[in-house]
Homo-oligomer: 211 residues x 2
DNA sequence: ATTTTGTATGTTGTATACAAAATTAAGGGC
DNA sequence: GCCCTTAATTTTGTATACAACATACAAAAT
């Protein structure tokens, strides 16, 4: 999993540029230009692009410039299906394996989110929401699962970001987080998985409105 | 997803070498040596190694030689958990989305396996078994799911290969394939997911014996 | 006018050269 | 003999140079 640091940094930068919309979906990423712009050579830039390609944020075409991915509605829905399966599994395993420290971690994220939820800008709130879900995946104590889960979260970053600005979703999300947290505390698998399912169903619904 | 052809070829070659045991788990992969051996330069070899790293067959360490992965028992079990979730989802979706052609495809693979199952060598049989499961994932008509599923299958290739030689497993596997196929035909989600669950439980059990 | 082909340009693919880091080996002190 | 320090070697990280391929445009032929 560890990568060479420079390529990793470039990948992080590129990822931000893509997700924040500086690089638009469908736009070509020219190695030389982008490398020059960041003051590095093509080699690490190539590696960075490959990293993002594996994450699904970039599409590679042989001998042609890679393109920023523009997922179709179906692709987004498909990704949500997979993410749901992964997160439900996370929830199940977390009920079994989560330590008290894990729960405390999740709880504090939830508290933080509740504290800022009505006046934070959507980006900040969104970051916190992401970390809540990642914390659950971590609490499964299955590193592979956490990694795959995170990959799908990243893939859905952009649509999630777009839907996060739908203000009426906020209260619902927060309530569901509370229910999930409660379920984890009681080690109640059904409650947790139900909460996760509902939440991602909500995401799917929001997506159809935004796209 | 498309990669530059040379790197892809090298990755395929390397993957075979790893899975067949020519490159032992824990062994370092030196870019220069391996590249020279295959008659290519370091650059595409590096890319190939990165590809395998994303598949989990190779572990990258900054500024040190990459190592052929040697997954612990826990890691294998974790991977099986995730694979199960992905394959169960595949089964569910396949019940809904599989076309008649998809089912025919799966059926013919099953028939082929039944035909060769008592005298084929374990490697051939194993390849067929893999393709059966991949066909189910494809029948879900969720490309991302199929891709992730395949990635986890690849990650488990080696242990699966080792357990495939346990001859007493063969009949059980074949029967379960039959049950899954029947369930798909009847669009019976419970039957399919139960079959898949059983099968992968069996794998988990075999693994504990082999490792 | 349309299609085809040739050429020019730009971009990726591969190889190699150089720099930095890590490993190994050697040497000196205890 | 053992350990620490240090030099030599090996190996990866990065940059750059060159080759192959693709695209765009222009000119010529149908």
């Amino acid at each position: 999993m560890t990568e060479t640091p420079l390529a990793e940094n470039i990948a992080n930068q590129l990822r931000r540029d893509i997700l924040r919309g500086k690089l638009r979906p469908g736009a070509p990423i020219k190695e030389r230009d982008n490398a020059a712009e960041m003051g590095v050579s093509r080699t690490p830039m190539r590696e960075a692009i490959r990293i993002l390609a594996k994450e699904g944020l970039v599409n590679l075409r042989p001998s042609r410039s890679p393109l920023v991915a523009e997922p179709s509605l179906k692709e987004v829905m498909d990704a949500i299906d997979v993410l749901t399966a992964l997160e439900v599994l996370s929830g199940k395993l977390a009920c079994r394996n989560a330590t008290e420290a894990d729960l405390e971690d999740i709880r504090s994220i939830h508290a933080h989110m509740a504290r800022i939820y009505d006046d934070a800008d959507s980006l900040d709130l969104f970051e916190v929401d992401m970390s809540f879900h990642r914390a659950i995946a971590r609490a499964s104590h299955n590193a592979l699962l956490a990694e795959s889960h995170q990959a799908y979260l990243a893939r859905l970053w952009r649509v999630r970001y777009l839907t996060a600005s739908l203000r009426h979703n906020r209260a619902r999300v927060l309530n569901q987080h509370g229910a999930i947290l409660e379920g984890l505390h009681q080690r109640d698998v059904d409650k947790v998985t139900a909460g996760i399912g509902l939440q991602l169903e909500g995401l799917a619904q929001s997506v159809t409105q935004v796209v």
